[in-house]
Structure formats: C-alpha cells, structure tokens
C-alpha cells in the first residue's frame, strides 16, 4: 500500500509546538479533511474538481435545454403566444450563452480535469489550487449570468451581443451588464484553468510519454487550451469596452461619436470562431479514444489526426470574418476569408476519414459509447458539409442569419459536441463512479437522441432555405408559403423533434439515477481499453496511481495486455487489466505527496464575483470585491502547498524526513 503523507515544510520546523491551539485557531486553519462537504468545496483534487465541473455543467445543460424547449414551443405554431417578444429574446440569448459557457465549456473542462492527469500518468494537475480557482470563478460567472433572470430580466441581445443593440439605450435592463460580467468572470476562470492544463500536459507526462505517444484526447485538450489562452483576452477586451460603455459612459460603440459597430463584431468573432473549436475539439478527442477502443484497433493515422487538430486550431484564428460576410467588409476580405474557411474543411475532413478508417478492419463492439461516437461522425459530417455550403460567401449571404445556420451549428454542436460528450459519459462512467451505466437504457437514450436531433434540426435546413430568419419570436402564415415546404409543417416537426430529443436526454438522467441506485459494479477494465487511466482502480484513488507508470507505447495499457505474435502477426493477450492494476498496487511508491485543500480559490472567486456585482450596483461593492481579491490572492500566494502540521486536528507532529516535493503551487 502506498502511504500518503505530508512532508514537513521548512518553515514549520522552527516552530515550537503550541500548547493548546485548537480552539482559537478556528478560522485560520486550513481545511484538510478528505470527506464531507468541506472536502469538496475546498478541494484541490483534480478528480473532485472534475466531477463538480460535470455536475455544474449538467445542471446548466438542463436549464439551457428547458430554455430551448420553450423556444420551440413558441415557434410550434404561427403567431406563438407562449412567450412575449421580450422574454423570447432573453430566452434565446440565455439558451446560447448557457449552453456554450455554462454547459459545453465546463463539461469539456470536467473531462479534461478528470482524465488529463489520469491519461498522462500524473498524480494531479500542475497547479491544483489554480484548478479549483478556475472552477469557482466559473461558478461565480454562471451564478451572476443567471441571477439576471430574477433581477430585472436577462440579457436580450443574442449571444453575440452585437453593438449598438447591446448598448445602454437599446438594452436598458441590467441583463446585458450581468451578461458581460458573468461571461468575463467565467472566461477568466477558463483562462486560469487552460494555463494550468497546458503546463500539466507539457510538464507532467509520465516518464516515456513523448508528445507523440500522448493520447489524442490530451492532444485535443491541449489545442483547445491554447485556443482559449489566445482567444479569451480578445473577448475580454470586447467585454471591457462594452462594460465601460454601459456602466461608465464610455463611447466605444456610440455611433453618434463616430464609433464603428463592426469593431465589436471583429473582436467578438476573433474570440467566437476559435470558441467553436474550443467546443468541438474535446468531443473529437473523446471519440478518438472511444473509436479505437471499440474497434480494437489503434487510431488510423495518429499523427494526421493530431496535426489536423492543431491546424484546425491554427486556421481557426484566421477565419473569424466568415461570420460577417453580410456586414459589408468589401470583396477582398470576403474572398480571403471565404477561401480560408474552405481550407479549414480539409483538416476536418481528414479527421472524419481517419475515424472511419479506424473502424476499417476492426472488430466493432456496438456499445452505447461507440454508438454515440459513430453518431458524431455521421451528424458532424452533415454539419460540416452544410458548413462548406456557406463557406461560399455569396451563397452565405442567402443563408446567414437564417434557420439554415441554426441547423448547421446545431448539427455541429449537438450532433458533434453533445454526442461526443455522451460517448464520453458512457465510456468513462465506470471509471469515475465504479458502476456501469445501463446499456439498454443507453440504447434508448441514443436512438431517441438521434431521432429527436434529426427531427429538430433537419427541418431547420428547409426553414432556412425557405427564408425564415433566426431570432424571430413569431412567424406568420402570410410568409410561410404553401405546399410541402411551408414553414408551418416543418416548424411543427422541429418542435416535436425537440421534445423527443429532450426525452432522450431525460432517459440519460434516469439511467444515471438507476445506475447510482442499483447499477452493477464495474470491472476494472470493462471495455478492454487502451490508455493509462485504466491502469488504476475505479474510481481512482486520491493519488491516482500507486506507481507512476513508465510509458513505452501510444496505447500503453493495451500493449501491456496484448502482445503481437511475431510469426502470425496475431494479437495475443498476456495479461488482464485487473492483473495489471494488481501489479501496480503491489509495487506502489513508498511516499506520495499530495497538495492540501485550500480556502483561497473559492475566496478569490467570491471576491471576483463581488467586484462584478459592484460594476453593476456601485463602487462601494467594487471596493469590497477588490479587497477580498487582494487579500485572498496574497493568501493564495503565501500559502504553502501542503498544510502545516498544526492544521490537523489533533495536530500531528511533523515527522518523516522525506524530500519529495508535492506538485507545484
């Protein structure tokens, strides 16, 4: 067995042990327990943080989903009366914002946080407390964003919040203020966590794991984090400008002063387009793990997949203006961005071919995870192809801002991203919770989602090409047309489909509850998997690995289980997963040091949230916020990575003379 122990920090050695510090120490002691609510709120364990990200994201997935259903209800019939125009505008704005910033990104962060260290063979991320900080900032941002519903109405400018419609005159409620502040704080959280994850990937891989032996999931996460690091500051600038205009009377988007409304659009899309890849690439990463596992074959053309992912990321920075073909950019920029946009289809196509060919010659096991992965390939391809149709800029001027676009990006995001994440749920659930999700319910879940998704978003292609613009709170018979392709019929189909989709997702939730209550315990290696996260127990121990694995192959775990018979070329099993895990336990490292929990991350997040509210409600609150931030930031910096002995109850005597360092900061 491994011994988890705390090293003795140098500065406590000089301290003579106190007589009875326990009571009066109260508020200044560090949290140290590993059970109970405190162990979650103050944790720095990447697994707990990952699960909290997941719970948070799932909650907002449901919130965003309900918003979507209301939207579809409103549009099910002409002249819908379910929502007022004002409420409808808030609804679609918050649906998009919630789904992107509070579901998709956190859910990807959940997977990244949980599995990145496990797949890399690390004990934790590089900066565990920054990790917690990222989470709590996101929570603060999410709460601020959604609190606007109860404080005078949510933001109503559409998720890209074009100026000047988002200015103080055209959107006088506080909704947009909450939106800018919330997104800014959530974005800051993402920035913190992405820096952390990049450093983790670059510095904390297990011995022997070169970058080209790293699982594709990690690669995609790394690309995503780089995208975030370089795109988030741009949206921060845009949000700062908007906040300054709304709260302090700056003139950035005041056209009467000569301002250019396109500035916002450029800034927004320089962030917004990479953001699209931020959303989709983690799902690509997930299915790049799932497909090989269930095809029993390595990923076809690993380097191509990796480099196409990286080039998607890179080119993704150069295509933002294709969201602005109709804004009057001038033919030269339109042409340039049109061509660049087509270019980005190439690496995407490469990925699709590689996934398809991974299955070629395989031994395909149709588990639910695999079904979702295949679903992603098919649905994403549809989304990708409709994407090519509006890379052709003139054609795009007919399609942009219509339901065709809505169809396109929902195929990409629901068909692509959501299916990828669900694939990840089914694949990794046994790893995280030690229980198998029910495959039968999984089947229902998958098929209802496929049918619902195609029924919802398929007809939107037709609606768009028939000229139904997006963001309309009503459509009328007069413009609906007649015959097979009238708006009315297809709008009804779409609304019906959205409920089928919702039932599909509901079945997943039922499955989760069912599994938690009477799911069967998962074997150590249920899928005959290929990567390092399976080389430990399920759920993994607090310190992840009893022994840091040494890596020799891409798909290390698989190669420890199977060996090629050199004469026949057949793969022969030499060990089971359970045996390998046992072997690790038997040879556990003697001393393992883990960082201690901390108050400061959540304290900083509270401070940032207070500062944000201060921007809306007045300077005194801002000052309080700044003080909290200052204090907790310095507390954060001055805190040693492991708790002092006196933080324990009863106080422990510092002891074993070990020199091994806990992870950084």
């Amino acid at each position: 067995m491994a011994i988890i122990e705390r090293p003795t920090p140098a500065d406590t050695i000089s301290l003579r042990m106190p007589v009875t510090p326990a009571q009066s120490m109260g508020i200044v002691r560090r949290p140290v327990t590993s059970t109970g609510w405190k162990s979650w709120v103050f944790t720095v364990d990447h697994k707990k943080i990952g699960i909290m990200y997941g719970v948070f994201a799932m909650f907002f997935f449901i919130v965003g989903g309900v918003e979507a259903l209301l939207i579809r209800l409103q549009l099910a019939a002409p002249d819908g009366k379910i929502l007022s125009a004002d409420l409808y505008n808030q609804m679609f704005t918050m649906h998009a914002t919630t789904m992107i910033f509070l579901f998709a990104m956190p859910m990807a962060a959940a997977f990244a946080n949980y599995f990145l260290p496990l797949q890399l063979g690390a004990r934790d991320v590089a900066f565990p407390r920054l990790n917690a900080l990222g989470l709590w900032l996101l929570v603060a941002g999410g709460l601020i964003l959604n609190s606007s519903w109860f404080l005078g109405g949510a933001a109503d400018g559409g998720w890209f919040m074009y100026s000047p419609n988002s200015g103080p005159v055209f959107s006088p409620s506080n909704g947009v203020d909450f939106w800018t502040i919330g997104v800014q704080i959530a974005g800051f959280g993402s920035l913190v966590s992405s820096i952390n994850l990049i450093v983790t990937i670059l510095n904390m891989r297990a011995p022997g794991m070169t970058l080209m032996k790293m699982p594709v999931f990690c690669w995609m996460i790394m690309v995503v984090q780089f995208l975030l690091v370089f795109s988030l500051p741009v949206i921060t600038v845009a949000l700062v400008l908007l906040t300054f205009q709304r709260s302090f009377g700056a003139t950035f988007f005041d056209v009467a002063q000569g301002a250019d409304p396109l500035l916002w659009q450029h800034l927004f899309w320089i962030f917004g387009h990479p953001e699209v890849y931020v959303l989709i690439l983690p799902a690509f990463g997930i299915i790049s793990e799932v497909l090989p596992t269930f095809s029993r074959k390595p990923l076809f053309g690993y380097p191509f997949v990796v480099f196409s992912g990286a080039s998607i990321g890179l080119v993704g920075f150069g295509v933002w203006s294709h969201h602005m073909f109709a804004t009057g950019l001038g033919p030269i920029s339109v042409a340039a961005f049109s061509i660049a946009t087509m270019a980005i289809a190439i690496p995407t196509g490469v990925k699709i071919f590689n996934w398809t060919l991974t299955m070629w010659g395989g031994k395909i096991w149709y588990s639910t995870a695999m079904k979702f992965a295949i679903g992603l390939i098919v649905l994403f391809t549809i989304g990708g192809l409709s994407g090519v149709t509006h890379a052709v800029a003139p054609s795009d001027t007919q399609q942009t801002d219509t339901y065709y676009i809505v169809a396109h990006f929902h195929y990409v995001l629901v068909g692509g991203m959501v299916f990828g994440l669900f694939s990840g749920f089914y694949y990794w659930w046994p790893k995280v919770f030690g229980k198998m999700l029910n495959e039968k319910l999984g089947g229902w879940n998958f098929w209802l989602m496929v049918i619902g998704m195609n029924m919802t978003f398929g007809p939107m292609h037709i609606l768009g090409l028939q000229g139904q613009p997006r963001r309309m709170y009503v459509w009328t018979e007069a413009r609906a047309g007649e015959g097979f392709f009238n708006f009315g019929f297809w709008n009804r189909v779409a609304s019906l489909g959205s409920f089928i989709l919702a039932i599909g997702i509901l079945i997943f939730l039922i499955n989760v509850v069912h599994t938690a209550r009477k799911g069967k315990p998962a074997p150590l290696d249920p899928w005959d998997a290929r990567t390092l996260e399976w080389i430990t127990t399920s759920p993994p121990k607090e310190h992840n690995f009893d022994r840091i694995p040494v890596v020799h192959h891409l798909d290390e775990f698989f190669h420890r289980k199977y060996q090629e018979n050199t004469t026949t070329g057949e793969m022969v099993q030499i060990a089971t997963g359970a045996q390998l895990v046992q072997a690790e336990e038997d040879n556990a490292d003697a001393h393992i040091h883990l960082p201690s929990p901390s108050y400061w991350p959540i304290a900083i997040a509270v401070g940032v949230g207070t500062l944000g509210l201060g921007v809306v409600y007045g300077v005194p609150i801002m000052i309080v916020g700044v003080l909290i931030i200052l204090g907790s930031a310095f507390g954060f910096v001055l805190e040693p990575s492991v708790a002092d002995d006196i933080d324990y109850d009863p106080p422990m005597s510092g002891g074993q003379d070990t020199k091994e360092l806990a992870p950084l900061g």
Partner: protein, 373 residues
C-alpha cells in the same frame, strides 16, 4: 494602573473633548460636529472605564500568567496609530474631507490589527505560535494593502507636485527624482559598508521631502494654465470663424481614419467649392441627406490657403426661452491636400428652418446647398 486598552479609550475621550471645545470656538458652537465629538468622548470614557474595570484588552495580565520563558507581548504601535487616526478625523472634520477619510482608514486598519493581535496573543501561551497565528490571519492582507498604500501615496504626492509646476520644470524634476532614486540605489549597492541607519535616514528623508512637497503642492493647487484650461474648457465648443482659433485649431488633425460610410466629399480647388457623391459622376452643388441619419462628409482642401468647412444648419430654440440660436458645425483648419471629416446628424427637414448650407469661410458667395427632405 491604567491598562493598555483603557489608556487608549481615555486618550480618545480626552482628544474628543478637546476637539469639541476647539470646534465650538473655531467653527460653530451649535453644530452637529460638536455633538458628535462630545458623544464620542463620553462613549469612549465609558468604554475605557469598563475596560479598566474588567482588565480586558490587557495583554499584560495574560502574559503574567505565562511561564517566565515566554517573552512579553510584542510592543504595540496600534494604540498610537489609532490615536493618530482620531486626530486626522478631527482635523478632517474642520479642514478637508480627504483627511477625514484618511482618518477613518487609519482607525479601521489600526483597529483590525490591534484586535487581531490581542486575539492572537490569547490564542496560546506560546508567543512564537501567537506570532505565527497572527501572521497567518493578517499577512495576506497586510502586505498588499501596505504596498498599495505606498504606491498610492507616492503616486498622489508626485502627481500633485507635477500638477503644480510648469510642464518644462516638471519634466526636469521627474528626471531628477528618478536619477536620485537610481543614484541612491547604486550607491547603496556598491558601498556595502554604509551604515544601515544612514540608508534608512536617506530613505526617510526622501519620503518626507516627497510627502511634504506633495502636501504643499496639493494645497497650493494646480498650475495656472491648468486652472484656466479647466475653467474655460477650450475644446467644448467649436470655433468656426475664418481665422484660425488658438485652441480649437491647435495641432489640427488633417487625416481621416473614417473610410466607410462617406455620404459626400466636398472639395476646394482653385477657390471653387464642389461636392461629389457616390454613384453620381459629375460634381454637384446640391446634396441630399437623409433626416436624422449620421452623415459623414469629407472636406478636402486642394488649395494652398487653409480653409475649414462650416455647416449652417438653421436655427433651434434654446430651452423654453424662445431665443433662436444658429446651429453650426465645422471642421478644423485644413491645409493643402489634407482631409477632414464632419459628422452631422440633421434632425429637422430643410423645409422647417432652412435653408441649410455648407460654406467655407474665406470663399464668400459660394455654398453647397443641403436638402433634407
């Protein structure tokens, strides 16, 4: 004798009464301030009495119980600071609100520090441990706030000085201060045998000089040009005369960054005024502009003389007075081959208070008519 805590309270009470008397004599005997000060004095003496009676807040009594090995509690400067805060508060009441706020801050900081210190001193009987507890509770806030305070003090003091002196001497002064800091830095770094007290004295001297001169500068106010500028607000109105205006035309800007959305281009060439519209090839003398639209008009001067473009946009009533005032807008003086832009928003049709014209002072008799339907 008096305990540490009650000493402070009695001190404040004394100061409060003194302040009240001063206030009565100097300012106004029947003011709220007097009542407030007296109230403070009474309250403080009460609290002080209680503290004295209960021996509370008295670290000595606790430390007496500690074994001889434990050192006596650290000397405390907080009571002193608290009293200083009280004085600042009083001075601020009569003089400047900023000092009043400063007083509050000092009192608050000293109060917190003191409370925590005394709390920590009772945490255990071990002084080292107590210090540790205190530092853990406070150092994370102490350091940045102290640092922030230092930055703020230097920045404010320095900027007051700069505001008071003339720009030229300001720049020179700036160089001198920076050089002084550098030179002192290098001297200290090179001459390791310097006494600590010498260094400290130099630093304190520098700080005091900065603070005192900052204070003096702050009270004496900004330099005259700035005061005049603030009073006259040179740039708030445009001066559209034929002659160049001292402020409005100072360093006039002759390039335009607005390229999209030009409604018309007005040119002066060989003393002739013409307009050019998008989509219409020949120069025109009448420009049609949509009502209430933001309209950008470029003015391009191709002649040697300096000109400005003036838009005469009828009249409007000033408030409810019934006085009619002319609406005029103009560019700055524009040199040869230079361009300037004029952004107009004409909310009334030309039929109501027209005619509207674009003219160039100095080119009399010529105008471009503006039609706003």
């Amino acid at each position: 004798m008096f305990t540490t805590g009650s000493k402070y309270y009695f001190g404040v009470a004394g100061l409060g009464s003194l302040g009240a008397v001063l206030y009565m004599v100097l300012v106004n005997p029947c003011d709220v301030g007097v009542l407030a000060l007296l109230g403070i004095a009474i309250a403080m003496s009460l609290v002080g009495g209680v503290a004295q009676f209960t021996d509370d807040f008295d670290a000595d009594t606790v430390s007496e119980a500690v074994t001889a090995s434990a050192s006596a509690p650290a000397k405390s400067m907080w009571p002193l600071l608290l009293a200083l805060g009280g004085v600042l508060l009083l001075v601020g009441m009569t003089a400047k609100p900023i000092i009043f706020i400063l007083g509050i801050v000092v009192i608050f900081a000293a109060g917190v520090e003191w409370a925590l210190q005394s709390w920590a001193e009772r945490a255990s009987t071990d002084s080292a441990f107590n210090r540790f507890v205190r530092e853990r509770a406070l150092s994370s806030l102490e350091l940045p706030l102290l640092a922030g305070g230092i930055v703020a003090t230097i920045a404010v003091a320095f900027s007051r000085i700069m505001l008071a002196v003339s720009p030229q001497s300001g720049a020179i002064l700036f160089i001198m201060i920076a050089t002084a800091v550098l030179v002192v830095g290098f001297l200290v770094a090179l001459k390791t045998n310097l006494k600590k007290s010498t260094i400290a004295a130099t630093c304190v001297l520098g700080a005091v000089v900065l603070l005192v001169s900052g204070g003096i500068a702050g009270f004496s106010g900004n330099r005259e040009e700035l005061v005049v500028a603030a009073a006259e607000d040179h740039y708030s109105h445009k001066e559209c005369e034929a002659a160049s205006s001292e402020h409005f035309d100072k360093n006039s800007n002759n390039a335009v960054s607005m390229k999209s959305g030009i409604s018309a281009t007005i040119r002066v060439k060989d003393g002739k005024l013409t307009a050019q519209l998008i989509g219409i090839d020949t120069p025109v003398q009448v420009v049609t502009l949509a009502r209430s639209n933001l309209t950008t008009i470029l003015f391009r001067n191709l002649d040697d003389a300096q000109y400005r473009l003036v838009a005469n946009l009828g009249t409007q009533k000033v408030g409810d007075t019934g006085v009619e005032e002319e609406i005029v807008d103009c560019t700055q003086m524009t040199g040869k081959d230079q361009t300037q832009a004029l952004i107009l928003k004409i909310s009334k049709p030309s039929a109501s208070s027209g005619p509207y014209t674009l003219t160039v002072p100095g080119l009399e008799g010529q105008e471009i008519a503006v039609v706003v339907p």
